[in-house]
């Protein structure tokens, strides 16, 4: 289990309990976090579940794989720490993870 905090573009905070093995995107959608569209349903095919990982958490969340980097080319306002949340699997190491939702997805 891991506790994840999503920070909306407007600054609103959403804290959710995430099961190990699920993706960060699934937890956002399941808990109604606004701004995560996940149009393709988690196939790493649309770049509409884009989030920014808080700086302290980047080593634990890891670097995007080449396929994810390719999709990030299509995302809105890509910055250091940009990830597609459907490609981040929840583990105990991510307990406390903080991610920010961009202003818009596409």
């Amino acid at each position: 289990m891991a506790r994840i905090t999503f920070i909306g573009a407007d600054g609103a905070r959403y804290e959710v309990e995430a099961e190990n093995g699920s993706t960060v995107m699934e937890n956002a959608v399941r808990n109604g976090v606004p701004g995560i569209e996940a149009e393709c349903g988690g196939a790493c095919a649309c770049a509409t579940c884009h989030v920014y990982i808080a700086e302290d958490w980047r080593p634990a969340a890891g670097e995007p794989e080449p396929m994810e980097e390719d999709m990030l080319d299509f995302a809105y306002d890509v910055r250091p720490g940009s990830r597609l949340s459907c490609q981040i699997r929840v583990t105990d190491e991510l307990d406390g993870l903080v991610v920010t939702v961009p202003e818009r997805q596409a």
């Binding site: 196939a43 980097e69 390719d70 080319d73 299509f74 890509v78 596409a106």
Partner: protein, 340 residues
């Protein structure tokens, strides 16, 4: 493919539900034309995730999206549907006997019923996230190259790292005043051969490559003069009179929203008996429709296609008695499927 045609039913969208609708309509002797903005059948299955496995198609424990499309295409082949690919429906008007549909390629089709199976909407180029880009759209900023001549002697900035970006960098270089390729990272999705060719041109000084993102456009009245590229080493202003951003495709409801059909949160409201919209004779199936309890599943779209077809049959052949038949036993259906 421009031209005039007549058919029983026009299906807008050639994704899995549009394709399967051909089968269900065909069993009832209804002929179909399909129109799709993509250049091949499959919709999202082909465009977004052809390699991804699907596990919830009844009877197929595991299939890839592309395999499902290939199987559907084979399944509907006996009904000889007419495909109009790379075309977008631009108008839908009622005529005395049904509907007239026109596309951006000049195709005009008269039909008795219309099925909207457009999934998430039509695939359209994504606009780059640059403030004020709208003012330059179609004047200095283009999302495709229709005529290369329109780019002659221009300062061209091409943005993106895929095949389109690289191909146009190579193709436009000989006739442009200058070409600069801008991509947010040094790795490219495009074919390695194109990347090598681009690197060679860069080494010869014939094109420039800038790593970064375009953050600002400068110009007036739609005429672009320069762009600002924010890169790892700071900002860079480049002369630019034509920009070609290649940021992939997004799905938009598009012209469907202007047909006077009742919508529910950007999806088309239908009944669950016929899957007919608020406009008689216009049906909507698959991801694009909405009704209480709707699930965006391919298998639900298949069910909707079957029920819709029986309703469409009554519109196309009013008064004809429809005898319900099973494909497993009906000799009439076997003939239609070419297995008799």
């Amino acid at each position: 493919m421009a031209g005039q045609a007549e058919t029983d039913v026009v299906i807008v969208g050639a994704g899995p539900c549009g394709l399967f609708a051909v089968f269900e309509l065909g069993l009832l002797d209804l002929s179909c034309h399909l129109i799709d903005i993509l250049d091949r059948p499959g919709g999202q299955c082909a465009e977004l995730y052809p390699e991804k496995p699907i596990f919830d198609i009844p009877g197929l424990p595991e299939t890839s999206a592309q395999e499902l499309i290939d199987r559907l295409t084979k399944q509907i082949a006996p009904f000889e549907p007419m495909f109009h690919f790379s075309e977008m429906v631009t108008s839908l008007d009622r005529t005395g006997t049904g509907f007239r549909i026109a596309t951006d390629a000049g195709t005009v089709i008269d039909c008795k019923a219309v099925v909207i199976a457009a999934g998430g909407g039509s695939f359209q180029p994504k606009r780059p996230p640059i403030p004020g880009v709208e003012a330059y759209d179609g004047k200095s900023v283009f999302y495709s190259v229709r005529r290369m001549e329109d780019f002659r002697d221009h300062h061209i900035v091409i943005v993106g790292g895929g095949d389109s970006a690289l191909d146009w960098t190579l193709n436009l270089q000989p006739l442009a005043r200058s070409v600069t390729l801008v991509h947010r990272r040094p790795e490219f999705r495009a074919a390695p051969d194109s990347v090598n060719k681009m690197r060679a041109l860069e080494a010869e000084g014939k094109i420039r490559f800038r790593q970064g993102q375009v953050t600002e456009l400068k110009g007036a009245d739609g005429a672009l003069q320069s762009v600002v590229v924010k890169g790892p080493d700071g900002d860079d202003e480049l002369a630019c009179t034509r920009m070609l951003p290649f940021f992939g495709l997004t799905m938009k409801l598009g012209p469907v929203a202007e047909w006077g059909i009742d919508l529910h949160e950007n999806r088309i409201l239908v009944d669950t008996e016929k899957f007919e919209t608020s406009e008689p004779g216009i049906f909507a199936i698959g991801d694009i429709n909405w009704y209480p309890g709707k699930l965006k599943l391919i298998l639900c779209g298949f069910h909707e296609a079957a029920l819709m077809s029986h309703a469409a049959k009554h519109i196309v052949h009013p008064g004809e008695r429809v005898v319900f038949q099973h494909t497993s036993s009906s000799t009439k259906l076997h003939k239609k499927l070419g297995v008799a």
